[in-house]
Symmetry: C2
Subunit: 196 residues, 2 copies
């Protein structure tokens, strides 16, 4: 049934630590649609409860799937063919249930997560061909709100990087692509059995 | 001596296949400075021969290192502390020679590359603590011009993704971050010996 992504704009943490809503960023839609399509993601949901933002996301998707953008850049049309606007996490789960007939397992990740995590390769292998869909959530702003983290069935490890001082501030775009690569990327050039 | 990155805006291939110059994209500077800093990259060079573009890049870097941006967002100040504008690949190589006293090994990657490549983990292990600096080039537009590809000493594999139809259109931002992760990312959750 495959792997699904959701870029969550609400509920997320704001700079001040309160729970709020972030604005949709156009480059996130492009980078995650392109990466999602490249890594064989089933659907990429853009989650925002704000009516005008949903309308904006739908207009961007239409421009690249049915409109002038897609006619000019066919590769971008294919990328946006997996993108979908969604008003909430509940609605996203329902859409996946409609498509697959199964309740998705919800996975989260975050710079904070360290304990009780499932390794990326294990999660990727388990769900890429499973009849159970996996929904991976990415939080904008300062990350997914606690209520969303608590709802997750599966925790993926944090992306740690390798800065000597532990600096770790990837954009959500960057973190999401790294996670897709760790879950689904060709491991031909990776350490271990996969290495050439 | 560590690993250096250069985002190359000239000479690169244009949509029509000719060799040309692309415009600097602000989000590339932010995403690659943040990712470079997260993965412990020594310096991140933004290469463009256009005087006004160099001035723009320098102004953006100053805004985040010495200006109001850095004062407001300290993490972004640290990210941009590794960023540097450079007019050419030759100048970039010279700057690395000044810093390290060594001639850098130039590495390229590209969706096209398949043969005679060095696996990411091997290249990362070889150069992260070597006295010889590694300079990894990323081409904007439709990729690095042949003259640059021919100048490379080392070829990294292409990032292949896993789309059933072979679709492969990551943004340069996304591809660069995946390559940093494959070269330098914590492999604790990867296949093989590193796996938990």
């Amino acid at each position: 049934m495959g792997i699904f992504l959701a870029l969550v704009h609400h509920p997320v943490l704001t700079r001040t630590g309160t729970v709020g809503t972030t604005a949709v960023t156009n480059v996130d839609l492009h980078d995650l649609a392109r990466a999602g399509r490249t890594y064989g993601i089933e659907r990429f949901f853009v989650v925002t409860p704000i009516a005008l933002q949903l309308e904006l996301v739908e207009r961007v998707i239409r421009h690249w799937t049915e409109g002038a953008g897609g006619a000019r850049v066919p590769a971008r049309k294919k990328a946006f063919s997996i993108a979908e606007a969604s008003p909430s996490l509940d609605h996203t789960v329902e859409r996946i249930r409609e498509r697959t007939g199964e309740e998705p397992v919800i996975a989260v990740t975050g710079a904070g997560l360290a304990q009780d995590t499932v390794p990326f390769n294990e999660a990727g292998t388990r769900y890429r061909n499973s009849t159970t869909p996996l929904l991976v959530l990415f939080g904008t702003g300062h990350g997914l709100a606690p209520e969303v983290m608590q709802r997750a069935h599966l925790r993926l490890p944090a992306i740690l990087g390798s800065a000597p001082d532990g600096y770790n501030h990837l954009s959500v775009r960057a973190a999401a692509v790294v996670i897709m690569d760790r879950l689904l990327g060709d491991t031909g050039a990776r350490p271990g059995p996969g290495a050439d």
